[in-house]
């Protein structure tokens, strides 16, 4: 998101209207993709008519397609987006296209193949197998492109791509079913058309930011080893967001599961203001301090200055935590108070209202945990991120199961798991940020590739005969901000899956 921080600050300095615009931008970037997708998937069945033969099964297929795209393409997204962000930081844009397209091809093929195999195993009709596989291929590739695009394109172009895609999906599917009379194939074709449009626009935006000539020798495979902890962390966080729905679906009747999933989707909507606040604050003040620290390190700051800046980063993390918690708490109180009237208006059953109230707490913890995870990603604390998200997943799964088995509302276990996970994430954040200087320097290799040898003077007194001015470079610093964009998009994808659960099961 090149320059987004500067633009946001510019807006904020304009006054109240500007600040509102900045936070609206944050909300749009963080929530619009999944809000739009959710809206399309929820409203499309209403438009095409519930009497369309095989629609329920088709929506089940769509569910499977999105869930598999989320799981299979998730690690590829993390790896591709980090790879692109690192090459961008190094100024090697020419090394991005080759691996990016190989990653897209991998996501496309893997999503299609796994979806086809899963639906075939579930004995779904051929039309649904084909339609859902194509949809999964398009969605998997699209999410991968968007995750890389977060760092290469402007947020506006990403939002335009997503918005156009959502509208096209909605319009095409409705037109092909209602006007064209194509039935389920038309429904799938319409859905896919929107995803393809988003993918094509995202690709266009990305490629316009890259050079025409690409280094085809750049390899993606080593990046899977390099970023495996990050990919694992992304996968574990995604899984933690919907493992509770899966458990409820498995251990309860479908109707309860549907109510639970609907409540969860509604609760997740409560995070939009908090996510907006997180986006604006992280991209502006925190980003400035973060870059200031590493810039100072590269520019030759003293140890005292670097310690002071590291301390400042810790304070900044604490401020972010306080702010996000306050924003989310405010929304939580409001929504808890409004839960009754809202439930009555939506005609939700009592058990869904209780689940909704409890899951609001879980969503609060998830949002706060997500912020901590973004900071761990910022500081390139891969193992810590993986440890934290694994802990989060384990806590949610264990406590949700425990709550169900103990006869408590499953949401209580989920909320407790999310809270424990968030605490673990933030414990690691506060343990690691003050030691960011030590960790950064101790992770520098002892020898650097020849190509990179030009940055910092070192010395070579190895041999009397060859007292050369050897140079040992100071390496790239921690990751750039762009790759942190991966997580919200995964979270949004998860929310879509949650919505799908609720939409399909309840019908």
């Amino acid at each position: 998101m090149a320059g987004i921080g500067w633009r946001l600050e510019h807006l904020i300095h304009r006054g109240v209207a500007g600040a509102a615009a900045a936070y609206a931008t944050g909300a749009a970037v963080m929530a619009l993709p999944w809000v739009l997708t959710t809206a399309v998937l929820v409203t499309l069945p209403l438009l095409v008519g519930r009497d369309l033969p095989g629609l329920a099964a088709a929506l089940g297929g769509v569910n499977v397609a999105y869930a598999i795209a989320l799981l299979v393409a998730g690690p590829v997204q993390v790896v591709v987006s980090r790879f692109a962000a690192d090459r961008l930081y190094e100024g090697r844009r020419g090394a991005i296209p080759g691996p990016l397209f190989r990653g897209l091809a991998l996501a496309l093929l893997a999503c299609a193949a796994v979806t086809a195999a899963t639906l075939a195993a579930l004995r779904a009709p051929v039309t649904i197998v084909l339609g859902a596989s194509v949809l999964a291929a398009a969605v998997g590739a699209q999410w991968t492109a968007l995750s890389a695009g977060n760092g290469l394109c402007t947020p506006g172009s990403v939002l335009v791509a997503v918005g156009s895609g959502a509208l096209t999906s909605f319009a095409c599917a409705a037109a092909l079913v209602k006007v064209g009379g194509l039935g389920l194939p038309g429904f799938f074709l319409g859905l896919v058309a929107g995803q393809v449009l988003t993918l094509a626009l995202a690709l266009r935006g990305i490629l316009r930011a890259l050079p025409d000539e690409a280094d085809e020798g750049a390899r993606l495979a080593p990046a899977f080893g390099d970023y495996r902890a990050l990919a694992g962390a992304g996968l574990a966080f995604n899984a933690s967001l919907w493992v509770d729905k899966l458990l409820v679906w498995r251990l309860f009747d479908p109707l309860s599961a549907s109510h639970y999933a609907s409540a969860s989707t509604l609760a997740w909507f409560s995070t939009i203001p908090c996510l907006s606040w997180i986006f604006v604050e992280v991209e502006t003040r925190f980003h400035r301090r973060f870059h200031g620290f590493f810039r100072a390190l590269e520019d030759g700051a003293t140890l005292t200055d670097l310690r002071r800046r590291a301390h400042g980063l810790g304070n900044e993390a604490a401020r972010l935590l306080r702010g996000a918690t306050s924003a989310q708490a405010g929304v939580l109180v409001l929504l808890e108070l409004a839960a009754g009237p809202v439930a009555r208006r939506l005609q939700l059953p009592a058990e869904a209202v209780l689940a909704y109230r409890i899951l609001l707490v879980a969503a609060t913890a998830q949002a706060v945990g997500l912020l901590g995870l973004i900071l761990l990603y910022y500081f390139d604390l891969r193992r810590e991120a993986f440890t934290a998200t694994s802990g989060l997943l384990a806590a949610v799964a264990t406590l949700t199961t425990g709550a169900i088995l103990a006869g408590l509302p499953p949401g209580a276990g989920t909320a407790a798991g999310c809270t424990l996970g968030a605490l673990l994430i933030w414990r690691l954040v506060f343990a690691c940020i003050p030691r960011v200087l030590e960790h950064t320097l101790l992770e520098q290799p002892g020898v650097w590739p020849r190509r990179r040898r030009a940055m910092t003077a070192g010395a070579n007194y190895a041999s009397r005969g060859s007292t050369r001015s050897g140079s040992i470079p100071y390496s790239r610093i921690a990751l750039s901000t762009e790759s942190a964009g991966t997580l919200p998009s995964s979270a949004s994808a998860c929310s879509v899956a949650t919505t799908m659960f609720s939409a399909s099961i309840s019908k």
Binding site: R219, P222, A223, G225, D226, L297, E298, D299, G300, A301, T302, L303, T304, L306, R382, R383, E438, H439, L441, L442, E443, Q444, P445, G446, V447, W448, P449, R450, R451, R452, R453, T456, A457, G458, A459, N460, Y461, A462, S463, R464, G465, S466, T467, S469, G470, S471, I472, Y474, S475
Partner: protein
Amino acid sequence: MSLVDPAVDPATDICFVLEGTYPYVRGGVATWVHRLLHGLPDIRFGVVHIGPEKSSRSRPYYTSPPNVTVREDLFCREKAPDDDDGSLRRMARAQRHRLAGTREHSRVLSAIRRLHLEGEDEAGLLDDFAADDLTVEAFLHGPEAYHVVEELYASLAPGCSFIDFFWHFRAMHLPLVRLLSATPVSAGAYHAVCTGYAGLLAAVWSRRTGSPMLLTEHGIYARERRLELERASWLERTRDRRHTGRSGGPFDTPTASALRRMWTRFFAVLARLAYGQASVIVSLSDASRQRQIADGADPARTRIIPNGIDLDLFPAPTELEPKRASAHGPIRVGFVGRLVPIKDVITFVRACFLVSSAIPLDASIYGPTNEDPAYVRRCRRLVAHLGLERVVSFRGSAPASQIYPGVDILVLTSLSEGQPLVVLEAGAAAIPVVVSDVGACRELVEGGDEPDRALGPAGIVTRLAAPEETAAAILRLARDPALREAMGESGRRRVSARYRESGTLAAYHNLYRSTAWPESAGVSNT
């Protein structure tokens, strides 16, 4: 304690620990080692060479004789890969995580810390260096090493660029840590031919194995490094210089200044450690010996063993006479040495220009040209610029038997020398010399003590970087054949009396075989 201990049967009698010289680099020290190896066939030698990195190792210039029973190469750095495939960063990250919980105290790290902060207790420092409890990984990625960096920074360079300090700390000590992790060669004694990394390694091995250590210095390593550091441009590229936006004033930035002091002190302490452990400290001349003493060597352990020449390799003056220049032909002047700035070939060329304007001249420059191609280009350009293409010729490397018969006067314009072999070779060939007043040159030409001086001057000593003085000396010799002959004869007499290779070999043979080593030698507390 005699070297040959019947209770011990090491792989070698004497293990040379060499740095950037024999058998890969040609020059005075390498030639000296080569002659020693060949000249003492009854002693089994080991040769351990320390080089910068594996990829920089070239083909050996010298073939080792059969009495070299152990050959080993140690390297200060790993080979740098050509491209970054992420594996280096991956490994570094994994090592950092692996070592994150370790809190073991390393004696080697403690020694590194004390080397900069205290450094007086040489024996204690050596014992710690000999502890062998620090891996390269722990040095690069361990928390204890990082804390040492912070502590040293606070003491040595507060207020300076931390990142520069960090990289210099690594660059300075990584070779040390890498070398200290090498397994010692089993030897009756270790013979280092300089201080620095090689000297420390020999001292540590001596400490670890209990075998004594011998140190011979041709130049004074720590002082050479200091001079180099004073001119090192890489030290000026510190971060605080970079954002001044200036190309550099006469003063160092605070960071460069602190780092220069740190490097200088580092080599000075390494020298003191080697001097402290060495049972015998040999130099080539009294001037060098005095500098060793000033740098911390115990006077009682110092001795002078000058270089020697095999006179049989040089024809007697009567045999050479017919080949010498006729009264009417051009005077043949030779320069023998590597074409590098320290030899100041430029001054020689300028002197040739002055001489050639007065008398017919035929100047030859002998020596390897591959070490500093830019300097060679500069010399050739100057020759062309001064119109000396027909007067000065670059002849490359050649054996002594081909050089000296074609030379009437040998010129050496070096800015720094120890005890140059070429002056001894010229003396052996009865060729008068014109030398700059550096190292032991004056002693070789005019004589050291009174009986030596009585042999007469073997040439003319000039001041440094003074082409007009060099030219005047050449002209004086060229115009006076009798003086040339007399000086040549003095040179031959001096070499014959004081600088015979057999004398050098005998001195070292005695040192190796029959010297009573001090009882304190090689005692380790580790």
